[in-house]
């Protein structure tokens, strides 16, 4: 695709570039470009810088603090920030709960929550999955019982990403189990400091602590923290999932991963030159690049519709499927490119401040952990099998 930019767009690109140059913390940038472990401050710091420029949640409606950009401006912004090594936005606040709050929340809730999400001062987590309710999310059992002007919540959530950093959780609870499972679900906003909440780490196979189990033991949540009506939570939950899934294209991350793959291939010696000169490996890299630009074209179309106010629908499912497949494909090709040096397990090499000599090339340490960790993307956010069911049912009418 040959994109021609207008003079305004070109000048916008320059202003984004200048902003990044001036404001992006070099330590954060280094971590992003090298796939190292990120701290909460890396995300929050960059988010705060963007917020002070009015760019933290550019896709939001103008009245809540959006930037009022054209689709092309969004495209340019994503392109520039990803190339430069800016951290991605954590989706839980800006992309997931915020649209629910401005669409279904009351004025009080909008005033209470949207500014903190916009500024990045309040970190959110997602209380959806439960140990027995994964793909079948609507079967969830975390109970919320009414007690005067409070709900008393008991039960537990699992796979809660970065709950250890969260100030608030948006949480699906069951207030009625007499009817269909989709009925009787209530959408609550829960302050993570409320007594009775405990967060237990789940260590994933690469050794990282990203997800958690969150247990509620008689947690009192004010009724004022309920979104919309009691028992209508499934409607809001599904609305949110549309936003979550269309946010999973991950094109900026994919482009960055491809750039890293090309750099690794250029460093690995092969029979006649480097792996990057090997025709077979070049074809593999080109194949994934074509997959990325194809998805990008789809996203551009979808973004244009979103800017016109159309809520992402079932088509978000195929974005999620393809985006996650591309992610996995890239981590696997990177394993292939690194070769025997994928074996060493050096988690300390992913931490800031570690300055011993790397084992093998300095790019090797994050590669196998990245491949292992990325197996999750076709499972979470509604597994890809569930997305295919959605397409079959709601798009194809089967």
């Amino acid at each position: 695709m040959k994109i021609t930019y207008t003079a305004e767009e070109e000048s916008f690109r320059q202003s984004v570039r200048a902003f990044i140059e001036a404001e992006l913390d070099p330590g954060t940038r280094r971590k992003v470009l090298n796939g190292l472990n990120m701290s909460k401050q890396d995300y929050v710091g960059w988010h705060g810088k963007l917020a002070s420029r009015g760019w933290s949640c550019p896709h939001w409606p103008d009245e809540h603090g959006g930037a009022g950009w054209t689709p092309m401006q969004h495209f340019i912004f994503d392109d520039e920030t990803s190339t430069a090594g800016a951290p991605g936005m954590m989706p839980f606040g800006p992309d997931m709960v915020a649209p629910v709050i401005w669409t279904f929340g009351n004025e009080e809730q909008k005033k209470q929550h949207l500014p903190g999400i916009l500024s990045g001062e309040v970190w959110w987590c997602q209380g959806y999955s439960e140990p027995n309710s994964g793909s079948d999310l609507a079967s969830l059992r975390t109970k919320a019982e009414r007690d005067a002007d409070h709900y008393i919540v008991n039960g537990g959530k699992t796979w809660t990403t970065l709950a250890q950093w969260a100030d608030w959780m948006f949480c699906l609870t069951r207030t009625d189990s007499s009817g269909k499972k989709q009925e009787g679900i209530t959408f609550l906003l829960i302050d993570m400091k409320t007594p009775g909440i405990s967060v237990h780490p789940i260590i994933t196979m690469e050794g990282g602590h990203e997800v958690n189990q969150v247990i509620f033991d008689n947690v009192r949540v004010p009724v004022a923290n309920r979104i919309g009506e009691e028992g209508k939570g499934w409607t809001y939950a599904k609305f949110l999932l549309g936003y979550e899934r269309s946010g999973m294209a991950g094109i900026p991350q994919a482009k960055r991963a491809l750039a890293r793959l090309r750099a690794i291939a250029a460093d690995q010696e092969d029979a006649d030159g480097t792996l990057a000169d090997n025709p077979r490996f070049r074809r593999k890299m080109s194949d994934v690049e074509i997959q990325i630009v194809t998805l990008e074209a789809t996203m551009l179309k979808l973004l244009a519709q979103q800017v016109q106010g159309k809520t992402p629908g079932p088509e978000a499912s195929f974005i999620k499927i393809r985006g996650t497949e591309i992610d996995q494909h890239l981590t696997e090709l990177t394993m292939e490119a690194v070769g025997p040096y994928v074996a060493p397990f050096a988690p300390e090499a992913l931490d800031t401040g570690w300055n011993e000599e790397p084992i093998g090339p300095d790019y090797a340490a994050p590669v196998a952990p990245g491949y292992f960790n990325t197996r999750k993307v076709t499972i979470y956010g509604g597994s890809n099998e569930i997305q295919k069911n959605i397409i079959a049912k709601h798009v194809l009418g089967l």
Binding site: G134, D270, M335, G339, A368, R375
Partner: protein, 375 residues
């Protein structure tokens, strides 16, 4: 005549190693040993010696027995148990090179102690830039007094940090990638000029970077003629990890099937969904095909005809890497989130399969070699 059946001796070996894995090698014990300093249990190693497994694949005049099929029997069971003891590094790789290159005296000294479980060996051949190229040796050896002095850097030497003796490849003539001029040396890892940096690996084992700066080495076999020995040893290692992969896949398939019969979503067992049934059928086919190929072609790994051996090894590695990728990835996906966790065993099997795909030649490397051999 083609026979898929194991001989009586092979069957005895299979029964004994499978019984050991089942009864004496529980996952929590393996896990604890894997996280220890050496990455395995010396107690288990002693048992391996007592059971005669440290002699498998070694020459009969050194107390050894069996060939590629016996190795495969052992390795498949090791795959089932996710064994971290350094059998591959010590017996197959280091022991194998000594058996093929060493003098009678060297064999007696080194292999005797190995088979008895008194001495652990490791093989240090790969280098930082060699990838899978067996001839790419830049480490050099020069005459020094009546011995040799070695200089260079050996990469990802399996269990190189717990070995009593290292078998190290080095060049006395030629340039990197020449097949001529490569030699094997026995090196004391505690000797002067040897720096061993050990580390854990992503599959629960251990490896080491080994730096040699004027390290003393004893020549193993003839000067400059080690290439065919190393090549055959790595072929045998590739075939061995294919057998290991069969065991890993068998466990993952069984775990996935079992989970699909117990996990309920949408009011039914997830195994009742046709979309998942078809994928488990694919996993089953992938394993059965790999097993058939191994049953028929594993014996060719012992063939004196090099081309025949290499065709068999490369076909096995391509098939098992392909099947291992499918089974490993699908096992995680079909389980869902639970298989992403460190607590759940399936993730450890998946990780081992992922590393095997990057050992002793990856799929493309073996496809290229197979293609070259079948003009």
């Amino acid at each position: 005549m083609l026979s898929f059946d194991l001989t009586d001796e092979q069957q005895l070996l299979k029964d004994s190693v499978e019984r050991f894995i089942e009864r004496s090698y529980p996952f929590d014990k393996r896990r604890k040993a894997s996280k220890s300093e050496e990455g395995y249990s010396r107690e288990h190693w002693k048992q391996f010696a007592d059971l005669g497994w440290l002699a498998v694949g070694l020459p009969e005049d050194q107390g050894g027995f069996g060939g590629a099929r016996e190795v495969a029997v052992l390795m498949e069971a090791f795959g089932r148990g996710l064994v971290t003891e350094p059998w591959l590094a010590s017996v197959l790789l280091a022991g194998g090179t000594i058996a093929r290159a060493g003098s009678a005296a060297q064999q007696e000294e080194l292999l005797g102690a190995l088979v008895a479980g008194e001495s652990v060996l490791a093989f240090a051949h790969g280098e930082p830039r060699s990838r899978y190229d067996i001839a790419r040796v830049e480490t050099t050896a020069k005459r020094s007094g009546d011995g040799w002095a070695l200089d260079g850097h050996k990469a990802v030497a399996l269990n190189g940090d717990s070995a009593d003796r290292l078998v190290v490849s080095a060049r006395t003539s030629g340039k990197a990638r020449d097949r001529d001029g490569i030699c094997l040396f026995v090196v004391d890892p505690r000797g002067k000029g040897v720096e061993v940096r050990g580390y854990p690996t992503n599959d629960g084992g251990r490896a080491a970077e080994i730096r040699l700066a004027g390290a003393a080495g004893t020549l193993l076999g003839e000067e400059g003629q080690a290439y065919p020995v190393i090549e055959e040893t790595i072929d045998r290692a590739a075939a061995a990890v294919c057998a290991e992969a069969l065991g890993l896949m068998a466990v993952l398939n069984a775990m996935t099937l079992d989970y699909s019969k117990t996990r309920e979503q949408f009011g039914q067992k997830i195994g009742a969904f046709q979309a998942l049934q078809h994928r488990m059928a694919d996993m089953f086919v992938a394993l059965e095909e790999s097993r058939s190929l191994a049953d028929v072609y594993m014996a060719d790994v012992d063939s004196p005809d090099k081309a025949e051996r290499q065709r068999a090894v490369s076909a096995l590695k391509v098939q098992c890497d392909k099947a291992g990728r499918l089974v490993g990835q699908e096992a995680v996906q079909l389980h869902g989130g639970i298989a992403m966790t460190d607590d759940y065993q399936a993730s450890h099997y998946f990780k081992r399969l992922s590393i095997i795909a990057r050992q002793f030649g990856d799929m493309d490397w073996h496809l290229d070699r197979y293609a070259a051999l079948t003009q």
